[in-house]
Symmetry: C2
Subunit: 485 residues, 2 copies
């Protein structure tokens, strides 16, 4: 299994009374305000389940919600085609996924440009070679140069082809998610195999506030019917799609998650789900989201605490920023968000690397910077700070004695490689050497490292028969899609 | 009183057994290895206290250490000449001080240059106008253009003159610290006043490993005799001045603190002290310290935990970096260190703003960036995440309803100013607007803000009679120092 283990107790910023009050407000929203549900299949399902439905407004009573949510597992496993790279979502584990969904891509060489297949493949390859990335996002960047109707097939395929890590699918409608399920079944040896242990994770978003629409519910039905993993992800901007006060936004966050999870558990009891979301502020003058802001830091801590209240795994996010370039803002906003991911006990960290411009772009240099940040956390989690006779080093201290240096101590020679962190990005040399070497700032250094990482990519290969079957499936589906137009 | 209150429980990364093992090793170092103590006055004092002394090697027995350390208060107050700006060091409070001791200063306009009086005054002024800075460091930058023998008088005076916040003195010998005490007595109405509540804080460093030298012990004696506050600050680089393994470095950190604090408590029982230090790694290839590294993050969490074991306030550090410019590295390293300051329950955060190049320079733009980071934390601590009927916003949620926006809700209009954080530095606008406005990265924006902060400085004034007395004292001391040469 390939994931982090997080030994830190969660930082809880809500009191028990706060949690109760937010939960009570969420249940009241579910019961009294309800949700708009615009997918007939879901409406029929919920009507059959005995819920009060008025037009397309569904009011969820609390017993229904509680019983449905209680069916969701608190942990589950994900498949990888390299069995060593599967992971657990839940317990005290954490997995990282790169940023997803950006329409633009950027690097110092080519500037900012629409997402395209060439960069898509490079970014998948870098995610594949990065030990700190556990999950591949088949929406790592948009592919504007592919036909809209069928690009989900190509993107899922390329992610399957160029990496052997677990896969998040880009599918977000009934048809596209259904295609992802079928391709995962081909990749992993059949529908039964992935029904047992999911082969694909999907992200499903309500249209906040309080709407579950037909496109997204299609995706929910396709994935849940096949027992694939779903991450429910309200996109909440306090002041726009949620109340401007965080407590109210959290209540809505819970309501939307509970509605989504209850629907999933009604379709398929026991289906693996993740309580997820994204709650940040709106800059009221600009109408823009503020990523890496303190609202985000607080909401991720509180959101994870609420997910624990419901005994559900939690999806957060981390390394993102509103900055336009890989500058100091990109650095500080990223780590403002990454610490809370660890401190909250986040199980699945989406947007863990690469996001700039509030996820409008994935930047090659930002990806490298974020991977360096993740490496630092990885080092803190393991080895952590081991205390034993060897590390306490009494003999070395006694032998070195007052006023002398440890530089040449045999204890130092024995331990320095394992004891100290080694950065792959930071400038640690003195200013004179730095100037001699071209006064390269972190963005330039990251660009150089990005190329080294790409060069280090080794193709994990793909079984020829499986590859042929996938290609055949894709060709058939493209033909159907062309006819359907 | 002017300080932060930190509501978060500390993140403890050491087990109780780890703490016991580190403490036991520290005591063994104190008893069996001992310290070199090269100041006759301290040696005499310790001999009188019954310690075993062999040449200049002092072996501290554990009962002596424990009894002496138990005399130190676990909290104390500091004076400010503006009574509203005094603060508490201890309990769950936190105060921030800018970086200190940098020989160079830098800004985008003038580049990197030796510290000088003109920049010194500007930096004191910016620290004064920054609500996130609670303590003024009279060593905020070196003043290379002042005579070495007497510049401590000018620096302490300028810090007293241009700010009315509590003061950290640059004094670091018997004479210079004695001068600081006398000037503080003039500023605060006499020796008795500052004896009751300290008027000045001094930093005292052992020459690690395990040496307390005559210069620094002179400062210890001058400050402790007058009951002024002392922060004991070993400068530990794992692999150079401390064992390469963090556990051993922590044991040495404790030993050096306990020796220093025991000396202080022997000079003056009950004297306010802070368990402090600086433990980071050495880049073994370059021989450079690595600031903002994960070793630093871990050591600050562990160091604060050890200080709690001894029931002493803890001095950490935060916003620093090994970067050479205000780039992404400066951003991410800074926040890698600032979170642990908050999470560890650090009481006094030195180097909270301005440090680049591993504290070789104070950068105007870095200072502004760090102040923005501190503002973000301040917002998280207060108001935090209040949960009540008003913030839960049920009525706003019900009234807005599914699929509509909160942008025009009356709840949003009522609360958005208080509910949301407003950045003074970040680029939040979209990329087109950002380009129209000159594609300014965070460093350029920080430069602009630095100038606005300077322009906003308002002179707090200084009582004419006190000013005259300080000037007279300084003139007399300069005359004496000139004669002594």
């Amino acid at each position: 299994m390939n994931m982090w283990t997080n030994p830190w107790p969660p930082l809880e910023i809500l009191s028990d009374e706060d949690v109760e009050a937010i939960d009570a407000t969420a249940l009241r929203i579910l019961e009294e305000v309800g949700h708009r549900v615009t997918y007939p299949r879901t409406l029929a399902l919920l009507r059959d389940a005995g819920l009060a439905i008025d037009g397309d407004t569904v009011r969820f009573d609390r017993d229904f919600i509680r019983e449905a949510v209680a069916r969701a597992p608190s942990r589950f496993e994900m498949r990888a085609r390299n069995p060593e790279k599967g992971f657990v979502i839940g317990d005290n584990h954490m997995v990282n996924s790169p940023t997803g969904g950006a329409p633009f891509v950027s690097d110092l060489d080519g500037g900012r440009r629409p997402g395209n297949v060439e960069d898509y493949i490079k970014l998948i390859q870098v995610a594949h070679v990065s030990p700190q990335i556990h999950c591949i996002d088949s929406g790592i960047v948009e592919t504007m140069d592919l036909p809209v109707a069928s690009k989900h097939l190509d993107m899922d395929y390329l992610a399957m082809r160029y990496s052997d890590k677990p896969l998040m699918t880009v599918g977000a409608t009934y048809e596209t998610s259904r295609d992802a399920v079928e391709m995962a079944a081909i990749l992993f040896g059949g529908a039964q195999a992935i029904e047992q242990t999911p082969g694909v994770i999907g992200i499903v978003n309500p249209a906040s506030p309080l709407v579950w629409d037909d496109r997204m519910l299609g995706s929910v039905h396709a994935l849940a019917a096949a027992n694939q993993a779903l991450i429910v992800t309200p996109f909440l901007m306090a002041g726009t799609t949620a109340p401007v006060t965080l407590a109210g936004a959290l209540a809505q966050w819970c309501a939307e998650n509970l509605a989504g999870i209850a629907i999933i558990q009604t379709i398929r009891p026991g289906c693996p789900v993740v309580f997820g979301g994204y709650l940040t502020a709106t800059d009221m003058a600009l109408g823009q989201p503020t990523l890496g802001s303190p609202e985000w830091s607080m909401s991720i801590l509180a959101g994870a605490q609420l997910a624990r209240h419901y005994r559900l795994p939690f999806r957060g996010a981390g390394g993102w920023s509103s900055a336009k370039t890989v500058d100091a803002q990109a650095g500080y906003e990223t780590v403002m968000g990454t610490w809370p991911a660890l401190l909250s006990g986040t199980h699945f960290m989406l947007h863990a690397a690469g996001a700039l411009e509030s996820t409008m772009i994935i930047s090659a240099e930002k990806m490298v910077m974020d991977l360096e940040v993740l490496r630092m956390f990885e080092w803190m989690l393991d080895p952590g700070l081991p205390v034993n006779d060897d590390t306490l080093a009494y003999d070395a201290i006694a032998k070195t004695g007052p006023g002398r240096t440890y530089l040449r101590a045999s204890h130092t020679r024995t331990h320095h490689r394992s004891a100290l962190y080694r950065s792959e990005l930071a400038s640690l040399e003195d200013v004179n050497l730095w100037r001699q070497q071209g006064s390269k700032d972190a963005q330039i250094r990251a660009n150089e490292r990005y190329k080294r990482m790409l060069a280090a990519y080794e193709d994990p290969g793909l079984d020829g028969a499986i590859d042929a079957e996938l290609q055949e499936f894709i060709a058939r589906r493209k033909e159907q899609l062309a006819k359907a137009r």
